[in-house]
Amino acid sequence: MSSFGEMKGRIIFGAILIIVVIVSFAAYQMTGHMSIEDRYNTAVGLPTEEEEEGGTFLGFSVEGNPALYLIVLGFFCAGCYVAYRYFAV
């Protein structure tokens, strides 16, 4: 049951993955290359806006204010440390 059960799951996952990738690629070809905000604006009929080019690292960038991002993330990390110390996992 174990290996058959595993195989069944992999087949279902693989089938979904292939269908999703094909459909998504076709939709991407139809809509073209654009940022996620432009994709939303185009979808609902709003004008697309010129975006300010922020700092990127290897194409990756942070949405919103990077300084605030780091501050909030720091607080979350501190919260995780406290939770881990008191409750453990």
């Binding site: 595993e6 009929g45 709003l46 990756f60 409750f87 453990a88 996992v89």
Partner: protein, 216 residues
């Protein structure tokens, strides 16, 4: 993923308030369950803290695929914490995302509903997949696909119901545009499904108790 990427002012004040009220009702129900019927063990609090930090961290990072996308880990939140704690986690992540300038304050209510659909469906499908397969990777992967698909559907329903201010497109045109958008989003769901699958499979190996907690 299906976070609604529209500016404040896209929805009318009525719909902004309507989605906020619905979201607050769901959060209220989650709090009610937490305080009365569903006592989380302390371990869950730590897990909730970790998934909140991880979801916030990854949610803001734009990945250079298909013009820029981001993951949100909501299915993982559902799988690890369940829909009750998961609802509070996504609310916190959405609040802090808006606070740093990612997403409008007025859309938090709508986005909480979108993310709630993702958390709830992913948790539900993850449990259901146990009957079909023993493979954790597949269980989590399929749950992620299902969750993010549900989130996309919720996003479409919310936008079509609310309408967009200052837009003269017909409902059919908006539906067609949103369908293409959702299809592209699902491509990113494939990446998230594989990542979530690996994470859950790994957690299942090193700490299976974490996954089993919500699956009685």
């Amino acid at each position: 993923m299906a976070h609604i990427h529209l500016e404040d002012g896209s929805f009318s004040l009525f719909w902004v308030m309507a989605w906020w009220i619905v979201a607050l009702c769901i959060i209220g129900i989650a709090l009610f369950f937490l305080r009365s019927k569903y006592k989380p063990d302390p371990q869950k609090i730590t897990i909730a803290a970790f998934v909140t930090a991880a979801a916030f961290a990854i949610f803001q990072v734009q990945i250079p695929i298909a013009g820029g996308v981001h993951l949100n880990l909501t299915p993982l939140i559902g799988i690890l914490t369940g829909p009750v704690i998961g609802t509070l986690v996504i609310f916190i992540v959405n609040i802090f995302s808006a606070a740093i300038g990612h997403g409008g304050w007025g859309l938090i209510g709508a986005n909480v509903l979108v993310n709630f659909a993702e958390v709830l469906v992913a948790w539900f499908v993850f449990r259901g997949m146990k009957q079909i397969t023993t493979d954790l990777f597949s269980q989590a992967g399929v749950a992620t696909f299902a969750g993010l698909f549900a989130g996309n559907l919720m996003m479409m329903v919310i936008i079509l119901t609310s309408g967009i201010q200052g837009v003269h497109q017909t409902t059919d045109q908006i539906l067609a545009g949103l369908s293409l958008l959702a299809a592209v989003n699902m491509g990113i769901a494939a990446i998230e499904a594989v990542l979530t699958g690996f994470m859950v499979a790994y957690i299942g190996k090193v700490k299976p108790g974490i996954l089993e907690g919500d699956r009685k």
